[in-house]
């Protein structure tokens, strides 16, 4: 009698395990069919664009690139922006890095796309306002704290980061 009960429990346990396994397998199979998040296949070579509120002949008089963009090792193209929006400037580094190399370069602060992004923003600001605005952080009022250090790490690249 005890043996029969044990056999029943074993069969029931095996059936439950099989059902659970089947469920997991079905979930895994359906999960595989879910499209993964789209990765930009052109991430490392895509043009970085910015629009400057100045006509093309003021942005690049006689075809001369404006500073500091002129000093960056990048391909550059430009065209008149639609409507009254000025000039679209596009740039991308001549040196393309992809995959792990690009990630490491970003971590080391040597990402050529970062250099181009910063140059585009500064060029825009110089052409539109004649200056590049500095932050009050240069004369700090803050004191070092652990959360502050975490924030520093997060914001450390805020000046040159972003969607641009």
């Amino acid at each position: 009698m005890e043996g029969a009960k044990a056999m029943k429990r074993l069969v029931a346990g095996a059936a439950a395990l099989a059902a659970a396994g089947l469920g997991v397998a079905r979930w895994a199979a359906s999960h595989r069919r879910v499209p993964s998040a789209a990765k930009d296949p052109l991430e490392s070579s895509r043009w970085l664009g910015i629009t400057i509120n100045r006509p093309p002949d003021e942005v690049a008089p006689a075809g001369h690139l404006p500073e500091p963009l002129a000093r960056v090792d990048a391909e550059v193209r430009m065209n008149r922006a639609p409507g009254d929006r000025g000039t679209e400037i596009y740039a991308r580094p001549r040196e393309h890095r992809a995959g792990a190399d690009a990630v490491l370069a970003r971590l080391r602060g040597e990402d050529p796309r970062t250099t181009v992004r910063t140059a585009l923003r500064e060029t825009k600001s110089l052409l539109e306002t004649g200056d590049v605005l500095r932050s009050d952080e240069e004369i700090a009022t803050t004191r070092p704290t652990l959360p502050g250090k975490v924030l520093d790490m997060a914001l450390g690249r805020a000046a040159e980061g972003g969607r641009l």
Partner: protein, 391 residues
């Protein structure tokens, strides 16, 4: 110099900090003569805006006297009594040229943060975290004002400091909500929130020709203040059903324009407050959009909702179905103050607008922490605490 500094969540102190300096040729240094608390500071204080460091000087709504200018400043000189817009604009990018100053493309030296968070760079703001540029705030004896030719406005003779002070932020923010919300003569307008900005939005709606303006809050003293100084109707949301009350007062239609002047820490009396509070604490949503939801439901079909309250991230249970099917227009913005400040100073000079009544408590800078405690907890009927650094 002396300044009121953020030290951590719900922790402020008055400290000695280095004087500000002219860092760009278009800067000025302003001696702050009055600087007021603002509801959006409470988001910093409560830790809802994460990019703050211990020691950051807060405050963004102020007036003062120019004491030094950079070599490329042309419209101002030392001695000018000025009100300064809380949002920093460069004055020459496409957004500034089109009077959308809070979308300035050159005034935030830390553009990467907002660019990634919101998909676009926004303007720098005084005393409003390192995500908004890392600029010092105005609760201090002195402040650096970048691009001063575009951001400071000379206060006309005869206009008092306390009236001019609110032309820095509360009055233009409120005016923007009414104007960009599309208020037209004959409209019925509802305003959620009777803080400084909400009251200014209500007053702006009346000045723009609204036939009826209804302001909503829960603090009796604020409702009484709105009724008395703005001249609008009021609803206490703790004693009635707001949407039912609005339907009953508008022939079943709902208000033509709804202005939300509450922001990410909205309160309510119902289950919503508990639900949003829990989700916010668990970081499952960042902001509590209780007043926005109500405004969308209350608004008449085809009407307009303007979000003036500050939001930073993501919200839950946003009634997109109501918005779409009722054909509503939804807009929002940080204030485009430079667009409105000259007009508001004129209205103040003529006596059509007198925002100084918002200054319920005036105190020294040393009393800053006490001022924020009163302001945050609405003690002694505090609507705005104003600090006088040189008093």
């Amino acid at each position: 110099m002396k300044a009121l500094c953020w030290q951590g969540v719900n922790e402020l102190s008055v400290e000695q900090v280095p004087d500000p300096a002219i860092l760009n040729a278009q800067d000025a240094i302003v001696k702050v003569t009055a600087s007021t608390t603002c509801g959006s500071d409470l988001h910093l204080l409560g830790g809802y805006i994460p990019a703050m460091r211990a020691g950051d000087v807060i405050g963004h709504e102020f007036i003062g006297e120019i004491v030094d200018v950079g070599p490329e400043v042309s419209r101002h000189r030392p001695g000018d009594r000025v009100v300064v817009c809380s949002i920093i604009g460069c004055g020459r990018c496409w957004a500034c040229r089109h009077d959308e100053w809070s979308l300035c493309e050159n005034s935030n030296p830390k553009p990467g943060v907002t660019d990634l968070m919101w998909g676009g760079t926004t303007a720098g703001i005084f005393g409003y975290s390192h995500a908004m540029g890392g600029f010092r705030g105005s609760h201090a004896e002195y402040i650096r004002v970048p691009f001063v030719d575009y951001n400071a406005f000379t206060v006309p003779e005869g206009v008092s400091d306390l009236d001019a002070l609110f032309a820095s932020d509360a009055a233009p923010t409120g005016w923007m909500g009414a104007e960009l919300g599309g208020v037209r003569p004959g409209d019925v307008v509802a305003v959620w929130g009777c803080g400084g900005v909400g009251q200014m939005a209500a007053r702006a709606a009346l000045l723009l020709g609204a036939e009826r303006v209804i302001a909503i809050d829960r603090y009796p003293e604020r409702l009484a203040m709105a009724a008395r100084h703005v001249g609008c109707e009021v609803i206490d949301y703790t004693s009635t059903d707001v949407t039912a009350e609005l339907r009953e007062r508008t022939g079943g239609r709902g208000p033509d324009v709804c202005v939300e002047a509450v922001g990410m820490e909205a309160d309510s009396t119902g289950i919503q407050r508990v639900y949003d509070g829990i989700k916010q604490q668990l970081r499952l949503e960042q902001d509590r959009p209780i007043a926005v939801r109500e405004a969308i439901h209350a608004c008449r079909k085809g009407g307009s909702v303007f979000v003036l309250g500050v939001f930073a991230g993501f919200v839950d249970k946003f009634p997109l179905g109501a918005l779409m099917n009722k054909g509503l227009t939804l807009r929002g913005a940080q204030q485009h103050g430079q667009r409105y400040i000259p007009k508001l100073l004129d209205l103040i000079a003529k006596g059509d607008l007198k925002p100084s009544y918002l200054a319920t408590h005036t105190m020294t800078l040393d009393e800053g922490p006490k001022g924020y405690d009163m302001f945050k907890h609405k003690k002694d009927g505090c609507v705005r605490a104003v600090f006088r650094p040189w008093a």
